[in-house]
């Protein structure tokens, strides 16, 4: 392939490097899986703090989202990986820093998604449940939360795709994932064109995969309602 600037796409090089890029993509997927798991756990906890009837916990929940949504993820990663070790003396592996950083930040967004989902349930539902003698927590568990599942799928799907793309940022804390792999070989072989475009296409395939899965899930839940 020849571009208008006379650059020749080096197929042989691309194919030779493909296994390395796929290995990097494997790490990207692993990171994403960890980030989704821990991010969702963090999100559930923070959402719980925000909706429970307790002003102190509400405040803590609000403080959390304020901080973690207000500071760029890249800066959070630098703080966790480079700044905190100076103060605490604890050095994390890049992988650990990466998972902590993405999960904490993603958790703040997931908490907001869950809170919004719960608040989107009609107020009359809680009143009806309470008027039947259910406790607040019974009403939440049996009546309110089950009604949020289907509404949560589209925004959660979006958030998971964002988390996947955000894993590219951890290349800056020496975590070798897809982007970092591409970067290394682009530099060492002077092939940025092949490496970055191929990496981009692999990201696109991964995010498309998510989109399709979540679309299917949404359809399935829509039918059962």
């Amino acid at each position: 392939m020849i571009t208008s600037f006379g650059i020749v796409w080096d197929w042989a090089f691309t194919i030779k490097m493909l296994p390395l890029l796929i290995k990097g993509a494997g790490m990207t997927v692993t990171l994403t899986a960890f980030a989704i798991t821990f991010g969702t756990i963090v999100g559930l906890i923070i959402a719980f703090l925000k909706i429970i009837k307790n002003p102190v916990l509400n405040y803590l929940g609000g403080l959390y989202t304020w901080v973690f949504r207000g500071i760029p993820l890249l800066v959070q990663l630098f703080i966790i990986h480079y700044a905190l070790p100076v103060a605490t003396g604890i050095n994390f592996e890049p992988f650990v820093s990466a998972v902590i950083g993405i999960s904490l930040c993603g958790g703040a967004y997931i908490a907001e998604i869950i809170r919004a989902g719960i608040q989107s349930v009609d107020k009359g539902q809680m009143e009806a449940a309470l008027s039947l003698g259910m406790s607040y927590s019974q009403a939440m568990r049996k009546i309110i939360i089950p009604q949020t599942y289907r509404r949560l799928i589209p925004p959660m799907g979006n958030e998971f795709i964002t988390l996947l793309k955000d894993t590219a940022l951890v290349s800056t804390i020496t975590m070798v994932e897809l982007l970092r792999t591409a970067q290394i070989y682009a530099a060492s072989h002077f092939k940025p064109f092949e490496m970055f475009i191929t990496a981009g296409l692999i990201y696109l395939m991964l995010t498309t995969f998510f989109t399709v899965i979540f679309g299917k899930l949404e359809n399935k839940l829509a039918q059962s309602e």
Binding site: D122, G124, Q125, E127, A128, A129, L130, S131, L132, G133, M134, S135, Y136, Q138, K142, I143, P146, Q147, E225
Partner: protein, 250 residues
């Protein structure tokens, strides 16, 4: 059965109930009428403590609701006690508020199983009897979204009855219905009244009030302006505000 004593309720600076006094005897059917914003819904909601009152007392079946009197001082009752009291008071809402993610049958058995701790099977048996009573036996496995408004409201009444309440509160149960569906809901309520249920009904259905009510209460601006037996209120209202209101809606 219900005793409302000097109850005041404000939302911020807006005083919605201004010293309401009301007693409802066991088996009595009381219909509450009054213009929009007069505090009818708020009064009902205070009776099962969906709204906290600012001052005054409400007794249900001799027990103070939401509050606790210790050495002459009033303290907030623990949430657990409030939940327990609500289980004995059924409430039917204007907008039905059925649980959309559950079938009709599940709507009816959820609270009895969760709150009364009876077995699923027993709850289901009772639920089917109640559905028969409201004429919806064939809808047990339907979802609320597939029912007409009138059917949904009848399910909502059955759901409240499934808790075997001592009192039923109705907040404009037919206002959200198409006119041709009002009758079927009122019929269920009439049956309930005949069986001796204690009922407080906010409604604009004057026909129902005339036929079923033991007493009619006219509320305006957060106060009970007038009360009496239906024939007196409808034919010979004493208060000019009652007269004005009735002339508008009759």
């Amino acid at each position: 059965m219900i005793k409302v004593e000097n109850v005041n309720k404000s939302f911020g600076t807006l005083e919605v109930l201004k010293g309401v006094n009301l007693t409802v005897a066991p088996g009595e059917v009381v219909v509450v009428i009054g213009p929009s914003g007069s505090g009818k819904s708020t009064l009902l909601r205070c009776m099962n403590y969906l709204e906290k009152i600012n001052c005054g007392r409400i007794y249900i079946d001799g027990k103070l609701i939401g509050l606790r009197e210790i050495n002459g001082r009033l303290l907030e009752a623990p949430a657990r006690e409030v939940y327990k009291m609500r289980a004995d008071i059924g409430m039917v809402f204007q907008r039905f508020n059925l649980f959309p993610h559950m079938t009709v049958l599940e709507n009816l058995i959820e609270a009895p199983v969760l709150v009364r701790k009876i077995s699923k099977q027993e709850a289901a048996e009772r639920a089917l009897k109640l559905l028969e009573k409201v004429g919806l036996s064939d809808k047990a496995n339907s979802y609320p979204a597939h029912l007409s408004g009138g059917q949904q409201q009848r399910v909502a009444i059955a759901r409240a009855l499934a808790m075997e309440p001592k009192i039923m509160l109705f907040d404009e149960p037919t206002s959200a219905l198409d006119p041709e569906l009002v009758g079927e809901v009122l019929a269920v309520m009439k049956d309930l009244a005949k069986e001796g249920m204690t009922m407080v009904v906010v409604t604009h259905e004057m026909g129902f009030a005339k036929e079923v009510a033991d007493r009619v209460i006219f509320m305006d601006e957060g106060k009970i302006m007038e009360e009496g037996i239906p024939s007196q209120i409808f034919t010979n209202p004493k208060h000019p505000r009652t007269r004005e209101f009735l002339s508008k809606i009759l």
